[in-house]
Symmetry: C2
Subunit: 390 residues, 2 copies
């Protein structure tokens, strides 16, 4: 991790230079983890050049080389001065992670500095994964594949989609999921396993999510709604576990007893979109191109009304993923970001089959020099739950 730390710090310093910031004060958990490899209550202060400094309030562990003990954020200016660092003239803060009150409090500690919003710099760096990060994502993808292989054994006849989701989440946790699933922004609040069956999969929700479901309670309006899974129903199992800090996103479709022909056809269409995106995606292709490719296919195939939802259709076809489930880039109509080697993207062309349920798959891909590499390798066909009833 020490090479990674140095590499990430230098990448941030390059971005800071472009923004005109001569210092960056990082303090959100996700960005402390990204920059230092661990989470603490405190700050990571990056000057325009040279070494960064950790200022740690908690945990109360013996002093570490290069780390400064801090009791209160109010000490920041004095402690930085004591460490031989000049006062910042243009200080970057995390404008999309810090609440307004904390951002303005920290700004007030540096009255001589102009304050610049810096979150976008970190998002841009995080968008391109290093070989080390890719190895962690591969490790996570293997666990996700293995979890999916075990899912049919968790099904019991007459189960609700809610009860099934609890068993699946339990299986992911047994496979090592740390239990923390990070989302960017304050709005998205989700469980690790979203299991949807029947028409309720198309319930509109507060989230721009591919098939979020309506949930069981108004305080958690996403996911399964306690629909009893009946023979012929399809079931979407979308999950995102955290094995080592990094998330993998994967969806597979199951069917109770047998697959109805319309579900088989719609699922085959989803896989044809997946193959078309795999065939097209490579460095330089725009995110919006992949979005349009998928939607053009949906329109030609007559699936425009049930692609990515029915009443409420998701406005993207895929998204970046890493430390958080919703990273850059986002594959929307308007995102003209070109794909770059080292991006990790989840592609999820899903459909609702009215009267049957949700179908489709989701895979996590690495963008390579030559195209893409699929990390989630388990079988994409619809798997049967319970006794096969042909």
């Amino acid at each position: 991790m020490s090479n990674e730390r140095e590499r990430r710090k230098e990448a941030l310093q390059i971005q800071m230079h472009a923004l005109g910031a001569d210092a960056f004060l990082v303090t959100s958990p996700v960005h402390l983890f990204y920059m230092t490899g661990r989470i603490f209550d405190g700050f990571y202060y990056v000057p325009a050049q040279g070494d960064a400094v950790e200022l740690i309030r908690r945990p109360l562990t013996p002093a570490q080389a290069g780390a400064i003990r801090l009791k209160s954020p109010a000490q920041l200016p004095d402690l930085l001065h004591g460490a031989g660092l000049p006062p910042p003239k243009h200080l970057a803060l995390e404008d999309r992670e810090l609440p307004y009150a904390e951002y303005t409090y920290l700004s007030g500690l540096f009255p001589g500095a102009s304050i610049l919003g810096g979150s976008a710099l970190l998002y841009r760096i995080r968008m391109i994964k290093s070989p080390y990060e890719i190895s962690l994502l591969r490790e996570g993808a293997k666990v996700h594949d293995e979890t999916h292989r075990r899912i049919p054994s968790l099904y019991r006849e007459g189960m609700t989609d809610w009860a099934f989701s609890v068993e699946i989440e339990h299986q992911i946790r047994r496979m090592g999921h740390l239990g923390i699933m990070r989302c960017a922004g304050i709005r998205l609040e989700t469980c690790s396993a979203i299991v949807l069956s029947g028409d309720s999969a198309g319930s509109p929700s507060p989230y721009d999510y591919s098939l979020p479901g309506g949930g069981r309670h108004p305080s958690a309006p996403m996911g399964p709604d306690n629909h009893v899974m009946r023979p012929g129903d399809t079931v979407n199992v979308d999950f995102c576990g955290n094995i080592n800090g990094y998330l993998t996103d994967i969806t597979r479709t199951y069917a109770v007893g047998y697959v109805k022909p319309e579900a088989a056809a719609a699922h085959a269409f989803s896989l044809s979109v997946m193959r078309a995106i795999e065939h097209t995606a490579r460095p330089g292709v725009l995110c919006s191109d992949l979005y349009h490719l998928a939607w053009d296919m949906a329109e030609s195939a007559g699936y425009a009304d049930c692609f990515m939802g029915t009443v409420q259709q998701a406005k993207f076809i895929g998204h970046g993923i890493g430390l958080q489930v919703n990273e850059l880039p986002v594959l929307t109509k308007s995102d003209a970001t070109p794909l770059q080697s080292g991006m990790i993207i989840a592609i999820e062309p899903k459909l609702i089959c009215p009267g049957v349920g949700p179908v489709g798959a989701e895979n996590t891909y690495l963008v390579t020099e030559g195209g893409t590499e699929r990390l989630t390798l388990c079988n994409e066909d619809i798997a049967i739950l319970g006794h096969s009833k042909p």
Copy 2:
């Protein structure tokens, strides 16, 4: 819920008057749920007097009485004008929930208004629970009691504290936990069940938490660390499930095979602190009084070095709880808030028994006119895991 909505809106309008705000624009999930009984992507706009207005971006459901469809936050001024509302002169926003970038974006939509930080108003109202909220908390507490009764059946010899925590979390989920556990602020990130055994329970952590543990991975530095639970070890099971939007906090102590005398003594001390607080707490008593009561007892009993942690000791003895795990009031040295009827507080006098493990209990209480009522009623004694080995 419609009476509740009206009551909460009026309580907010009274607070707004004291602050000098003639409007409040609420948008965080926790506060939308508190004010409206559900979560949506959009806004709840409360004028100085009269009816509030919902402006909803998602879910895309048929129009509801009193709700306005909104495509983008940029439409807010026009839509409010169209609803016959005067432009705000002093607009309150959630300064502790909204990221800086979103707060300043929303501020910019109302150039004629001064902007006031309003989160504290909502925290103050939420601190006192209504009879309806108390009934939901009672319902949650019953589920928590029943879950604890089932915990010994989940233990297997040779289990790690991590594996035990996964089984306990699974049990809570089976009992109806919705899977979303809300925390205030950006720093606290925790699982529903914190299971700690042996000395690792005292690991210092980034959080001011009573016995957080060190965790299994630097990206999730809290909770069990895979310590194998051995005969004589004590095990703290602290969990917080969400049955209906509201959280209940409860801790019980278990021991593998038998209870070592020093653990029995320290646990009995924890319960004596619990009884002393129950005896003392009533409306008018200061939060800081209860903190000092607990610490004075710990010092007199010779437990000052291991009360609320060892290397890193928690700086509180209890906390408010409701929609979030860390609500007001906080029972710290310096919180001079007087207890009030209708508060819900979790009291957690815990200790580390060196070489044995964590002991103590945590209960959730309702503050009543006459004192307190304990909501978490299951047995507080140390329960034995596995075969009893006297």
